[in-house]
């Protein structure tokens, strides 16, 4: 009789442990900063769609060997600096990584190697005008983040760079807008004239 409740308790405990692993929320503050990331660019103000950023990442050599045993792949992302997050809740930094919106653009994703790697990335044309830094996450076999590195300090104030977005405007669009607008106004005036003529006719 005493065994049954104990079994139940044990079962529940095991279940709890499993749920911890299955649905564990990964927080940014729990990740160790073990990677060293640098980003180089031709000038501080970069143009989307034209300029390139060269990103280098690798394990911090001063750490003990075996720190990176769980790292299977690397994900490097472009992230918003605090100044570009002010009054913009859709770019908010949240500790829970599944809800975090700091890093919204993927630079490169690939397998992890112990040697340092680099990648040259042309800034995509849908990147908005803002101030950025680069962050790399090390992922384990289940694609969960287990470590990170970034090219700026913990307060995200150094080594930031600005990207200027494309306007999205084209001369053909401008001309089309002006033409259609003018057409609307001219058509309205034409109708008024026609109405006036009809009015005069009705009087006659």
């Amino acid at each position: 009789m005493a065994a049954a409740p104990r079994l139940l308790l044990g079962f529940l405990l095991v279940l709890a442990c499993f749920s911890e692993t299955c649905f564990a929320t990964i927080t940014f503050s729990s990740l160790p900063r073990t990677l060293v990331v640098t980003a180089s660019h031709p000038q501080r103000l970069l143009k989307a769609g034209e300029d390139k950023i060269t990103v280098r990442w690798g394990l911090n050599q001063t750490l003990a060997a075996g720190t990176d045993s769980a790292y299977k792949s690397i994900k490097v992302e472009l992230c918003y600096a605090p100044i570009s997050q002010v009054d913009r809740a859709w770019r908010k930094t949240v500790d829970n990584l599944s809800k975090d919106k700091t890093c919204q653009f993927k630079i490169v994703k690939g397998p992890y190697t112990t040697t340092n790697q680099s990648s040259e990335w042309t800034i995509e044309r849908d990147v908005p005008t803002a101030t950025y830094f680069v962050r790399a996450y090390a992922l384990d076999a289940k694609d969960n983040e287990v470590a990170y590195g970034q090219n700026t300090d913990a307060k995200k104030t150094t080594n930031l760079f600005e990207i200027q977005a494309i306007t999205g405007r084209h001369v053909s669009l401008d001309i089309a807008s002006v033409c259609f607008s003018a057409f609307s106004i001219v058509a309205l005036m034409g109708f008024f004239l026609a109405e006036k003529r009809k009015g005069i006719k009705a009087q006659q």
């Binding site: 002010v86 009054d87 913009r88 809740a89 859709w90 809800k99 044309r125 849908d126 908005p128 005008t129 803002a130 977005a165 494309i166 306007t167 999205g168 405007r169 084209h170 669009l173 401008d174 089309a176 807008s177 002006v178 259609f180 607008s181 003018a182 057409f183 609307s184 106004i185 058509a187 309205l188 109708f191 008024f192 109405e195 009809k198 009015g199 009705a202 009087q203």
Partner: protein
């Protein structure tokens, strides 16, 4: 020439049965017969187009805010600007309808605001974004011309229904645009355009739709069952009225002001919800933007039956209980809308929230329809000004509500919604003060004074000079036709006296 007679007459030239003013006494939804039903379809489609244009930006904001580098404050200000432009535009439109006719007034406004929608494609900063949203919002003044046109084409038994369906199906645009714009944007982007260019091209669709609807109004519409204002004025059948008199009689009618306030707390609330509800669901329940957008759209889409339902309910109540029935129903439905708004802010689960929101949308939109079952009777000479005041009041309500409860982070959105519900209930109370001497008010019956007839009420808007010139003829006909607002039991007792003098003798 024309010989007027009492009671309904079926002229061979009209497809629908008409009254002595040639206004239709029946509403046939699936007919496009000129001039009545054609006017109906032209007005609701053009109003729908204006709503689509005005609320075309919100569903695309995730793209636009990155392209134009907008902050949350910029977005909030643009949202307020989009509904504030129409406050005075609606009043101006009301006056223009009284003076120039709804056909020219609405088509002119639509064609003058279409360029702004085209120019949205070349917006490049928060300031230009705010300006295009502000000026595009002016097009919402076509609401007034829609209601005016329906009140000119349809008679008392169906005027609430006609106003309600035209207004409701136009308001639908606010919901439909949340589905149309992302779809158009997706198509253009898949064809090969970059995101920041695709949204700009997408804006050509609402702009073109708006322009074409204005052309249709000018080509196929007419102001009154008998013809257009200009032709009728030139041939002497319609008198040209003076702006100062029309305006004066409109703004000195206290009922117009009360309705302006109460409309601010049904339609104004509807506009506010259009602007904030997607974000509310997205933030509170962590939905995807796409899902939040669909829920937001469903609020606006309820207009397909809720506002028309309000109009029909107003007509049904008017038939049985007269104007007093219309007023009581309006107050009841709007207050219940406030109650459900309070509940919406309090519920914490997603399914309960969606359910309450849908019930809330029915009540608040029906109240809009019910309001415009009362408006056509407040004034005959200044119908446009009264419609404009009420319509403008709706937008003022939206601006005030967003400023007090939904700007910055003073109140959480759910607290704001609850407080808005309380404000709805409080601001619906002034309906008790509306009183028509010939029909009564909510608490008082009609005056037993001998001078409290429909004719006395509508003739009070004309001076004796003007009456000598015969300018008041149309109002006299309307007074006769409005006698059914006494309600069924009273109407059958008082046979209509032959108060209409033979015309044109």
């Amino acid at each position: 020439m024309e010989i007027s007679s009492n009671g309904a007459e079926t002229q061979p030239k009209f497809a629908l049965p008409v009254d002595s003013e040639h206004k239709a006494t029946e509403f046939r939804l699936f007919s496009v017969a000129a001039p009545h039903m054609r006017a109906f379809h032209l007005s609701w489609v053009s109003f729908f187009a204006c709503f689509v244009s005005t609320f075309a930006a919100p569903p695309l904001l995730p793209i636009i805010r990155d392209n134009l580098n907008l902050t949350a404050t910029d977005i909030g200000n643009a949202g307020i600007a989009s509904v504030s432009g129409a406050v005075f535009a609606r009043l101006a439109m009301g006056t223009a309808c009284d003076l120039f006719g709804p056909r020219l007034a609405s088509a002119s406004l639509i064609l003058l605001t279409a360029p702004v929608v085209f120019f949205t494609s070349i917006a490049s900063s928060p300031v230009s974004f705010l300006l295009v949203r502000f000026f595009t919002g002016f097009s919402l003044a076509t609401f007034v011309s829609t209601q005016f046109w329906m009140s000119s084409m349809f008679s008392a038994p169906v005027v609430g229904t006609a106003n309600g369906v035209a207004g409701g199906w136009g308001n639908l645009g606010g919901g439909a645009t949340q589905l149309i714009m992302p779809l158009v944007f997706g198509l253009i982007r898949d064809i090969g355009a970059v995101k920041f260019t695709a949204w700009r091209i997408a804006f050509f669709i609402p702009a073109l739709f708006q322009t074409l609807s204005a052309f249709a109004i000018l080509l196929f519409g007419q102001d009154l069952p008998d013809g257009n204002y200009k032709r009728l004025q030139k041939s002497g059948d319609k008198q040209k009225d003076k702006f100062s008199r029309v305006f004066y009689h409109g703004i000195t009618n206290y009922r117009g002001w009360i309705l302006a306030l109460t409309y601010g707390y049904c339609f104004g609330v509807e506009l506010t919800i259009d602007n904030i509800i997607a974000e509310y669901f997205y933030d509170r329940f962590n939905l995807k933007l796409h899902t939040a957008g669909i829920i937001a759209a469903s609020f606006g889409l309820a207009n397909i039956i809720s506002r028309p339902g309000g109009g029909m309910l107003s007509d049904a109540m008017g038939k049985r209980f007269g104007m007093r029935g219309r007023l009581w129903t309006l107050w009841t439905v709007q207050t219940l809308g406030g109650v459900f708004c309070i509940i919406l802010g309090q519920v914490g689960s997603l399914s309960a929230s969606v359910a309450v929101m849908i019930i809330f949308s029915f009540f608040v939109q029906a109240a809009c329809g019910l309001t415009f079952g009362v408006v056509p009777f407040v004034s005959r000479r200044s119908l446009g000004v009264i419609s404009g005041m009420t319509g403008g009041g709706g937008n003022v309500g939206a601006v005030v509500t967003q400023l007090i409860f939904f700007k910055g982070s003073r109140y959480s959105k759910e607290t704001g919604i609850t407080l808005m519900g309380i404000m709805i209930i409080c601001c619906s109370l002034p309906l008790f003060l509306i009183y028509f001497p010939q029909w009564g008010g909510m608490f008082c019956g009609p005056s037993s004074d001998k001078t409290a007839t429909e004719e006395d009420y509508y003739m009070s808007e004309w001076s004796s000079n003007e009456k000598d010139k015969g300018l008041h003829e149309a109002s006299l006909k309307f007074a006769d036709n409005s006698r059914r607002e006494r309600g069924r039991s009273v109407h059958s007792q008082t046979l209509p006296s032959n108060a209409t003098p033979p015309a044109n003798v």
